[in-house]
């Protein structure tokens, strides 16, 4: 492979994987927020007596 072509190819695929990784991290962050909200909701629920 010629050097300039290689670097553009590297940059192109670097962008693809970086943006995909950012999106997955964004999904992960939203998932953690959802988990935190769920824990807060659980804490607010009245505790049932254990039979």
């Amino acid at each position: 492979m010629s050097a300039p072509g290689f670097w553009f190819l590297f940059a192109g695929y670097g962008v693809v994987w970086s943006l995909l990784a950012l999106f997955l991290m964004h999904l992960g962050r939203r998932h953690r927020i959802l988990e935190r909200e769920l824990r807060e909701l659980e804490a607010r629920l009245p505790r049932q007596p254990v039979p």
Binding site: F8, V16, L19, L20, L27, E37
Partner: protein, 236 residues
């Protein structure tokens, strides 16, 4: 049994592995299977991911428009979650397509960007669905804003046919590789067609998996907010 329940086992257990496997096959075909293109050299290999990113983006926006139309008609939350998830995933692929295009164009055209009709229409598409995401960025869903956004998705998708025909309609410089014969800039080697198809399957599976993850997130968030609202009413 609802469609969601029927899909869940497949989407949770099979889809991530299928998408990952197909993506490895796509990378193998792009970097080890296809030969170098004669005039463009190695940089032409960006094409396989660039084109499929755009197809995944179009798929996302068409799904969003269809789901938005159903939401406007029947008012069911499931359609709104699907539309929103599809726009978010579509915008991911649209953004990748918009960034990888100039990286290919710089060594081939000698410039990063030109206001070619197809490129201009693509930027307009990105802008329309960016506005959709801005409208939907509030924590709680306002029904009126949800309806405005649904109308925007239905109208915005009409830009896609214009992007498809813009090369022939306005004679831009963007290549039309898929529809052109090999003698006029089309794919010159059958292995290139195979790599394009393998990559297309990989992107379709990746799209479906990301759409499912985002849809599930929106569904669970809505369920959580409903319980919170009910608890608030009971407390009062």
């Amino acid at each position: 049994m609802s469609v969601h329940r029927r899909l869940a086992p497949f989407a949770d257990r099979v889809l991530p592995w299928a998408a990952s496997g197909a993506m490895f096959a796509a990378l193998w075909s792009v970097f080890l299977y296809v030969p170098n293109e004669r005039t463009m050299g190695p940089v032409q290999r960006i094409f396989y991911f660039h084109v499929n990113c755009w197809w995944a983006a179009y798929l996302g926006f068409f799904v969003a428009a269809g789901a938005s139309g159903l939401y406007l008609w029947r008012g069911r939350s499931e359609h709104d979650w699907l539309a929103r998830a599809a726009v978010e995933v579509g915008m991911l692929f649209c953004t990748i397509g918009l960034v990888t295009g100039p990286i290919w164009a710089r060594p081939i055209w000698g410039t990063w960007w030109t206001w070619d009709p197809r490129l201009t229409m693509a930027v307009i598409l990105w802008t329309i669905f960016s506005v959709y995401l801005v409208l939907r960025s509030s924590v709680r869903d306002d029904p009126e804003i949800t309806r405005y956004a649904a109308v925007l998705a239905v109208v915005g998708v009409l830009d896609i046919p214009l992007i498809m025909i813009s090369v022939r309609l306005w004679r831009g410089i963007h290549p039309s590789v898929i529809s052109a014969p090999a003698s006029k800039g089309g794919l010159e080697d059958p292995r290139m067609v195979v790599a394009l198809l393998v990559t297309m399957v990989a992107f379709a599976l990746l799209f479906a998996w990301l759409l499912w993850l985002r849809y599930e997130g929106l569904r669970l968030r809505d369920a959580l907010h409903r319980v919170e609202d009910q608890m608030g009413e009971v407390a009062r």
